[in-house]
Amino acid sequence: MNNQWLVMLLAVPFIGCIVTMILPGHAARKWAFCVAVATFLVSVVLGFQLKHAIAAGQPGPNYLGGGIVGIGASIHLGVDTISMWLVFLTTFLTPLAIAASFTAITERQKEYYAWMLALLAIMLGVFVARDLLLFYVFFELTLVPMFFIIGIWGGPERRYAAGKFFLFTFAGGVFTLAATIYLGTRAGTFDLDTVVHVAQTQLTTTVRWWVVLGLLAGFAVKIPLFPVHTWLPLAHTEAPTAGSVILAGVLLKLGTYGLLRLALPIGLIGIDGSAVFPALIHFIGGLCVIGIVYGALVAWVQQDIKKLVAYSSVSHLGFCILGMVALNDIGMQGSFLYMINHGLSTGAMFLVIGMVYERYHTRDINQLSGLGRKMPIFAFFFVFFTLASIGLPGLNGFWSEFLTILGAFTSEHLGIGYGVLAALGVILGAVYMLHMAARVIFGPLKFPGSDDHAADHHASHSPLSVDLNPREIGILAPIALAVIVLGVYPNLIVGPIRGPLERIMNVHPEKSLGIAAAPTLRSHQEPL
């Protein structure tokens, strides 16, 4: 039975986007915010439908629209728990990002909010697409709005940054497209489940090797994995605040989602749940570990706090993918939790950095100091999200970090060494984040113009209050709440996603090693 709410999920922001273009300029931002909130509400309805469907033992909401018979592609939408949580992340962050743009974006507002809503619709499309071609189309389409958002409303080097962002991701995407088309023609259809089944049962190992490399090329750039991460810091730094939030919060997850949903089952996991290319898993795991340490060390020496957080994403996504390629429940559940948590805490970090940039027009770590004295509420949120980001137990970051490392540590595909190296990255994670907090929040008060009294005079005419205003608190508080909820009750996400993850891993309950069989079956196999 076709579920109309799925169509609504994409239609609401899309229609909202078109309406934005015909609205008068000053109304655009409120309209866009309302549309984004409406989209969130639609996603909540969908979430409840999914919950009921699972409770009743039925498949989740599904929509099968018209298709092109000749190509084998169709409008096939659907959600399972994996898609649903990423949809939630998207519809949760976008209204906040839009609200954060109210004072920051003063030029060409109509265009800006139209692009934001278009981006929202496209991102949701990626997560609900159940057709490979549809997935690819949405996946690449996200580039366009983000390209304009960075290129028009970005910082001084926005043209260069937007171009680099576009070229890197598009260059990777070309290979993904080739793999997609090949898979579609081989399977005779682009339907995701069919394609995966065909890939696992009919393709030769050589073919799967090339297909998975093609898919990986696009996803690795998007994630981004070391060493193809170099577009990210510049794009993040130059993007407007909302752009950075969406970029870090959701767009990077398109890569990880693609890897999870497509690359793993198509190229890396055999029909019996074994690893098809153990060497490739070691290669990806190695890149992750290098990225974790490399990203952390580079982040540590940054002068621009936005760039620091951008490099921290390189490090964080290393954990995320490391857990994923562990190919066990613990690692993959942790990896998925990491996607959500990274979206929340890094998104929040970009929001608070945007708030300080709006006030002082600098992000230079040497020009800001001791803001805790001047802006205590800001300082609270800054330190709070810093702690979430460095994985303090009780906040969201801890479980995802711990589970991904534990997954790699206990995995028969990776092993103890990967876990230990990744855990070293946890130390470095605290080094650079606390370095930033110590410089920005602690210490003697200093901000651009703090020495001359004219600055105070100027500040009094600024539309922004000294400390955060209620709108800004309203933006950060929901994220802070989510950070605590997921820290205290991670099972909210970790529990429901096990089913879809085990389907991806081809581990079925009856096949999994029950406790009775385990000691005799596996006792001769030990990690060392």
């Binding site: 298709g67 190509i71 389409l141 070229l167 577009w231 137990p393 605290a430 999994s512 406790i515 990690p527």
Partner: protein
């Protein structure tokens, strides 16, 4: 035990301080202001009452002493005072059906759906009942004291909110029923320590000290977390006792199993070393002790509560709790004892030449923690816990007294600038004398008994270990009374003006730093500050009675952590070789002789201090000048900080710089190359608009993708 109210509602012990912290934190700045201490007083106070009732209730149950040790059957009734309670599942990854069954641990390796179950639950036994009383009891006294001490500070509400949060985290640390809960508390107290060291956050020194404390602890936590993971990999669980003591489903019990697999045996060689790295970080043992002296940048009540009485003892608690993981490994136990012993004498040496009151006590704390590690490393965890309790009393007392001095002297702490304070601070004079006596092991004070047991245990293991500890005890007595005689006895000398770089406690004070010349007009010992001091002084004097007739050992023998570890060491088949017989109580032989010896050593140290620092003060400096290169090295703390900076921090930071340079080079190189391609196509297709080639490119792509979409939708 299920009938005890405090057991049924044990969750209130951490929860109430947390609620108090939330109320103070959220409403303190605007509404409560100068009353922000009330939520914390109430929360911590009620927690303290609950904890004391829990302990008393346990004592009242009074199972026949030592019954746990002899009956030995695998039934849970063996430990009537040990119960676990699960409140909710904190995390369940993997397939819950794979959880280990009794006597059948889960196999993790090679099982993609292995179950990782972490409960938000408590394991309550005599060990943490004692710890809870120390934490909440001393914690409550310190919150009372803090009202007087922190009066008028601008961040008053913030201070109390952090204190409440700390008590929450510390009680979670000791109550948790698995290693992850321990880790939660572990990191939580680390956070509070970070926030409270950085309380005067505008001071660069406080800022750096806070960061350093967090990062050094992170290094320790690295080992700790790997230890947890290895435990899970080997035994399939992180719970202490799983479904109950006797079911062999918990980590601590599985480690005592007789049919360990090859990998499990191998893992047991590593797990204690990994866990002890964490313990060394939190409990400031060499080489991870460097954060603790700097942590004195925090307000004095924080130094007393966190950096002397409670948090820094978490490492001792961890090793005592996980005893069965440690006692199976002779190298691990020897390492713990050796590191503890070295830290004890090393820190005591540095304390000899410190001139800042709080710094002396900080190094002394490191040294005393070393004693506790020697105890747990020498199979005398009871002596370790005993010393932990007495140390909590007398060191909290000393730090709080130092706080009174600091308050009265306008933030000055340099002992060279003050003398004869007994005339100005008569009550403090008495309580600090008691504290100093207990720290020096003056006969029949609390520290005397507990230290004596540790030295006894050390001698039973290795005479060199014992001899070093005795010498350290001598140094301790000397440096403690050097401080006392210098500051409180002799002619009255008051610091002329508050030193600007030591003024942090007067920083942000609502009132001006007091002029010490007009002492008589100000009461520097308000009742709210000296009453907690007096209570602590009673504890410091008579705390030795806790272990009267080995009462503590009897009580702790009802803790499965202790009992199982003792059984393990007594098992002649597996562990006797290399250890010899280890008795639960302190060795009986020559106990009297040792007591007399250590008492004499303490008196000698005090005598030396009396001679050098009261009778003839100039002589001490002459002697110090005679030993110049050595004293200089000690005053610079053996240059350890500088070595770390040059050997670890700088190279890593330089590496980050190199990586960043590579990053930019790769960016410019590769992107320059790729960017050429669309330029070329753009030129060919003549779609380059005035906005630039890239936007034209994007527009083309948009058109193409839209075309595909339209095709799909139309058909």
């Amino acid at each position: 035990m299920e009938t005890l109210f405090s057991f049924q509602h044990a969750y209130l012990i951490p929860l109430l301080p947390l609620i108090g912290a939330a109320i103070s934190g959220l409403f303190g700045a605007k509404y409560l202001k100068e009353n922000s201490h009330w939520p914390i007083w109430l929360g911590v106070g009620i927690s303290a009452i609950l904890s004391i009732f829990l302990l008393l209730g346990m004592l009242a149950i009074n199972p026949s002493p030592g019954s746990a040790g002899v009956s030995g059957g695998p039934s849970t009734e063996t430990y009537p005072l040990a119960k676990s309670v699960e409140y909710f599942t904190w995390l369940q990854a993997g397939d819950p059906n794979n959880e280990g069954r009794p006597d059948q641990p889960q196999v993790v390796y090679g099982n993609p759906t292995a179950s990782f179950h972490v409960s938000a639950g408590f394991f309550i036994d005599p060990l943490n009942a004692i710890m809870l009383c120390v934490i909440t009891g001393i914690g409550f006294l310190i919150t009372v004291y803090s009202k007087g001490y922190m009066h008028g500070e601008s961040g008053y509400f913030r201070f109390f909110a952090y204190l409440g949060l700390f008590i929450f985290a510390m009680t979670i640390l000791v109550l948790g029923d698995n290693l992850i809960m321990l880790y939660l508390g572990w990191e939580g107290v680390g956070l509070c320590s970070y926030l409270l060291i950085g309380y005067y956050y505008e001071k660069p020194a406080a800022r750096e000290a806070a960061k350093k404390a967090f990062l050094v602890n992170r290094i320790g936590d690295f080992g700790f977390s790997i230890g947890i993971m290895l435990s899970f990999l080997a035994f399939g669980t992180v719970s202490y006792f799983g479904q109950g003591v006797g079911t062999h489903t918990g980590l601590l019990e599985l480690a005592t199993g007789t049919h360990l697999g090859g990998f499990q045996t191998y893992a047991l060689k590593w797990i204690p070393f990994l866990l002890m790295i964490g313990a060394f970080g939190k409990s400031a043992q060499f080489p991870l002790y460097v954060w603790l002296p700097d942590a004195m940048e925090g307000p004095s009540p924080v130094s007393a509560l966190i950096h002397a009485a409670t948090m820094v003892t978490a490492g001792v608690y961890m090793i005592a709790r996980c005893g069965t993981l440690f006692v199976g490994s002779a190298p691990a136990m020897s390492t713990v004892a050796a590191i503890g012993c070295f830290t004890a004498i090393f820190a005591a040496t540095i304390a000899l030449r410190q001139f800042d009151l709080k710094k002396v006590f900080a190094y002394s704390t490191i040294s005393q923690l070393g004693f506790m590690f020697v105890a747990v490393g020498c199979f005398a965890p009871v002596a370790g816990v005993f010393h932990l309790v007495t140390h909590a009393f007398f060191k909290a007392l000393l730090f709080l007294s130092a706080g009174v001095v600091m308050h009265a002297m306008g933030g000055e702490l340099d002992m060279r600038k003050m003398s004869g304070l007994k005339r100005v601070l008569p009550i403090t004079n008495i309580v600090i004398l008691i504290g100093c006596a207990a720290l020096s092991g003056f006969p029949f004070t609390s520290g005397f008994f507990s230290k004596d047991q540790i030295v006894g245990a050390a001698f039973a293991r290795n005479w060199l270990l014992g001899a070093i500890l005795l010498f350290t005890a001598f140094l301790t007595a000397y440096y403690t009374f050097r401080l006392y005689f210098q500051v409180f006895q002799g002619p009255l000398v008051l610091p002329a003006t508050p030193a600007p770089d030591h003024a942090h406690d007067s920083h942000d004070h609502g009132h001006e730093p007091k002029d010490p010349g007009h002492e008589e007009h100000h009461n520097h010992e308000p009742r709210i500050m000296w009453i907690p001091l007096a209570i602590l002084a009673v504890g410091a004097l008579f705390g030795g009675l806790f272990n009267y007739h080995d009462a503590l050992a009897d009580f702790l023998s009802h803790s499965p952590s202790f009992d199982l570890a003792w059984k393990l060491t007594a098992d002649p088949g597996r562990y006797a070789a290399g250890f010899g017989h280890i008795d639960a109580s302190a060795p009986e032989t020559s106990e009297q002789g040792l007591m007399i010896l250590s008492g004499l050593i303490s008196l000698t140290g005090i005598g030396l201090a009396y001679w050098l620092h009261l009778l003839e003060r100039a002589r001490a400096e002459r002697i110090a000048a005679g030993l110049e290169p050595l004293t200089g090295l000690i005053e610079h703390k053996f240059l350890v900080d500088e070595i770390y900076q040059a050997a670890i921090v700088e190279p890593l930071r330089r590496l980050g710089g190199y990586f960043y340079a590579i990053d930019r080079f790769v960016v410019d190189g590769v992107v320059g190359l790729i960017a050429f391609i669309p330029q070329f196509f753009g030129f060919l297709l003549r779609i380059t608009t005035e906005r630039g080639y890239l936007q034209g490119y994007a527009a083309t792509m948009l058109l193409g993708l839209a075309l595909i979409l339209i095709l799909i939708f139309l058909k």
